[in-house]
């Protein structure tokens, strides 16, 4: 065996600094039969860290349904792939950049977007849309404004320059995110089904090529940081964050697509968290091959970089590729044309070892499978959350009048218009944005149409906190509903599971509950999980975030001319609610915003009703008998109707059944519901069809005028509502600049 240098000595402190538990280190020593080199310690710390190995979550992720008629590639690759017909596939994934964004919001969010775009074009897909899901602390917290401004500018800064439209997202505020904001970014690309590229290497003795920008000492230990709980010192520690270069990424995109087209690529993997280490090990492990790297050839930005630093650097805009034999020159010429680095830094072997050489010394020689796809996994102890009490309408105060409560809701940080944010994103570039942000789901035309993709990201963290299982179900159901509401057939999801410290049984219980709920809903709604990401340890000083399993949904609109929007279109049309309204106020936005209470069980999600009601609504859209559709979520019926009125600049006169108290009827959050508007004269037929399908349908009133009229309440000006809804966020943000 070769000599592996070892300074400094491996001490228990050094092991701990690398985020390895003593037993994990022990396991590693036994595996290799000797003490590791420092470079090896760095490599294993990166590979076995939560972020790369999914050691706490893997056993549970395996329970998710991942198969379906449309699924070409499920979890396990850089992104999921679903068939959308005509020889085309949608390629998508979501990923978190939570901790880096808290430390440096602009660059953290920007590089998050960069990373997920790379995951998508690594597979041969041209990115056609980006979305994001953001959670910030309480809006009164002194850091919140700064974080919102920075994150939004960072997402826009990267996506706008790269040239992908950012078409959707979700934004929420809660004090539980004060010390741990969430930045989840999703990217969607299009590829031909027969031109998809995978990470697994194949063929022995093939050249491994380094592509893209040069390597610097960026974010060394970034991956470890992303998985370590924050303590008091975190802000002082100021770990190196990476700086994104969207310009380089755009060039990398074009160059990669060009060499793929030229047939140069056998397999390809982006360098994300823990850069060269993760990408090289994954390529080899997935392809059952060994990898030998010679770091002397790695293009470096800084002088004197050690093997350890090169292996752990998180410099952005880089790729690793196994080249087709005989294609070296052609591939290199393409990269040079785009002004990017290209270097052969190793080759595949048949030894199943991961060997790293630098300046003639073997810095690492490790078994590749055990590092990669056979990394440790834990079945961590968990306790289920205590069920919460079911609240009756009478348990909830109705002291605030209905119009005043509506005002509070539409001016709350969670429900106000997010225009201030999405106007900073170029949502029109590429010229395919059929439905821009602000609707239930974004709709993006596929090539020349008439097909389009519908895209959304959703989760209701307060439900997940109240009941992880129901909350997990609800997140999926809401994504499914949002796709349905624009007339799309929901195809598949990507998820981003954001939780606290899994070593605490109650947090692990939240995780398990949510994953079970997600699984149940995906199963029932035929909505498989094809990719995703897990972000754990989102805690500061033992205080965890709300459990936040973000769901990114992708659906197919067969004919974009029939895609549905939520704004009222014409006066005198009948408004109905699809689905049963009982007035569920537990864990509702009303309870939180109007009553300042966060308690009660969340609304149960009846997946059979979800499916039935959604399929019914979709059939109405397909048959062109409705003119507006909106799903009912946060804030209940009246908020949904107000949003339809504001979008259409048209009022409505409404009625309600006597059996349910006003606050519960208008603001309850019963699930599986949609507000629909019947095209003129179609009402009776819709009623008949609902009866035949066993779908609950209730007439609420009709559109018209410039006010919302409610029985027994003062009338509400639509323009006034719109004004208050639109100005809350700009005013809030304006106070800082």
């Amino acid at each position: 065996m070769n000599l592996i240098p070892n300074t400094p000595n491996i001490t228990p402190e050094l092991v701990a600094e690398h985020g390895l538990k003593p037993e994990e280190y022990q396991r590693f020593v036994e595996l290799i039969g000797r003490e590791p080199s420092v470079t090896e310690l760095g490599i294993v710390s990166a590979m076995w860290n939560e972020h790369c190995s999914y050691k706490s979550s893997k056993v549970w992720l395996r329970t998710l349904p991942t198969k379906g008629a449309c699924v070409i590639q499920g979890p396990g690759e850089n992104a999921g792939v679903v068939d959308i017909g005509d020889g085309l596939a949608a390629v998508f994934k979501m990923e978190s950049h939570n901790h880096p964004s808290f430390i440096e919001p602009y660059q953290g969010a920007a590089t998050g977007v960069g990373g997920i775009l790379r995951d998508v074009f690594t597979m041969g897909a041209r990115p056609v849309a980006a979305l994001n899901a953001l959670r910030f602390g309480d809006c009164h917290h002194p850091r919140t404004r700064h974080l919102v401004a920075g994150v939004v500018a960072g997402i826009g800064g990267y996506g706008n320059s790269f040239g992908v439209p950012t078409v959707g997202g979700a934004v929420g505020f809660h004090e539980r995110y004060n010390g741990n904001i969430l930045v989840n970014a999703m990217a969607v690309g299009l590829a031909r089904t027969d031109e998809i590229f995978y990470a697994a290497a194949s063929g022995v003795g093939r050249a491994i090529v380094y592509l893209g920008s040069k390597t610097g000492r960026d974010g060394i230990h970034g991956a470890t940081m992303a998985s370590a709980e924050f303590g008091e010192g975190a802000e002082e520690k100021r770990p190196t964050v990476q700086v994104g270069d969207p310009f380089a990424e755009k060039l990398l995109l074009e160059a990669c697509l060009e060499i793929m087209k030229a047939g140069c690529v056998v397999s390809i993997q982006d360098m994300g968290a823990a850069g060269l280490t993760c990408s090289a090990v994954e390529m080899g492990a997935k392809g059952d091959l060994g990898i030998e790297l010679n770091l002397d050839a790695v293009p470096c930005r800084e002088t004197g970089m050690t093997a350890y630093e090169m292996m752990l650097s998180e410099s952005q805009e880089r790729m690793l590729m196994v080249l087709a034999p005989g294609k070296e020159e052609e591939a290199e010429a393409i990269f040079r044309k785009w002004g990017l680095d290209f270097a052969i830094i190793g080759h595949t072997t048949d030894t199943l070892r991961f060997v790293v050489k630098h300046k003639g010394v073997v810095e690492a020689d490790l078994p590749i499978k055990e590092l990669g796809d056979e990394a440790p996994e834990y079945y961590r102890p968990f306790v289920e959350s205590e069920p919460r009490k079911v609240l009756k309408p009478s348990d909830v105060s109705d002291a605030v009048s209905v119009p005043d409560a509506l005002d509070k809701l539409i001016m709350s940080p969670d429900l106000c218009s997010k225009r201030w944010i999405w106007e900073q994103y170029d949502h029109l570039i590429q010229g395919n944005t059929v439905q821009k942000p602000g609707g239930d789901a974004a709709v993006v035309r596929v090539e020349d149409g008439p097909k389009a993709l519908a895209l959304t990201s959703d989760v209701t963290p307060r439900y997940c906190e109240a009941d992880p299982f129901e909350g997990g179900k609800q997140a999926v159901a809401e994504a499914w509903r949002n796709l349905t509401a624009v007339g799309a057939i929901p195809l598949a999801v990507t998820d981003n599971l954001n939780f606290g410290n899994p070593e605490r049984p109650e947090i692990m219980g939240q995780f398990v509950g949510c994953v079970k709920g997600i699984g149940a809903a995906c199963e029932a709604l035929d909505f498989p999980v094809v990719s995703g990401n897990v972000s754990l340890y989102n805690e500061t000083n033992g205080k965890a975030i709300l459990p936040t399993p973000t769901i990114g949904g992708v659906g197919l609109v067969e004919d974009l001319h029939k895609s549905m929007t939520l704004g009222f279109k014409a006066a005198g049309e009948a408004i109905y609610v699809v689905g049963k309204t009982e007035g569920w106020l537990g864990a509702s936005a009303y309870l939180q915003t109007v009553c300042d209470r966060e308690e009660g069980a969340p609304p149960p999600v009846d997946l059979v009703a979800e499916k039935r009601n959604g399929d019914f609504v979709r059939s109405l859209i397909r048959d062109e008998v409705v003119t507006a559709v909106h799903d009912v979520s946060d804030g209940g019926l009246l908020v949904a109707i107000a949003e339809m009125a504001m979008a259409g600049e048209l009022g409505a006169s409404l009625d309600k059944p006597a059996s349910i108290p006003a606050h519960a009827f208008w603001f309850g959050e019963d699930q599986a519901r949609y507000v629909i508007v019947a095209a003129h004269g179609e009402g009776p037929d819709i009623v008949r069809r609902a009866e035949a399908a066993g779908v609950p349908l209730l007439k609420l009133g009709k559109t018209g005028g410039d006010r919302i009229l409610l029985p027994g309440e003062r009338s509400i000006s639509v323009e006034g509502l719109r004004d208050r809804n639109e100005t809350w966020l700009p005013i809030y943000m304006g106070a800082s600049s």
């Binding site: 430390i103 440096e104 660059q107 000492r217 964050v241 990476q242 700086v243 800084e302």
Partner: protein, 80 residues
Amino acid sequence: MKARVIVTLKSAVLDPQGKAIEGALRSLGVSGVQSVRQGKVFDVELSGNDKASAETVLKDACDKLLANTVIETYRVEFAE
């Protein structure tokens, strides 16, 4: 009184702008430039005439706003 604050990227931090400028200068035929790193300068007008207190104010301004100390360093200079 007048002061100048110069904010530059820490030396290990990637400077995509500098890189692009280097390339552009090269292709414009400007020779002899080996590397460029771009930073910001703030020309500040302060009330009062006490250098020491001005320095305190500016350091405070840098830490709070002008510099992102995660990736940048700063320097305060006074006009002679």
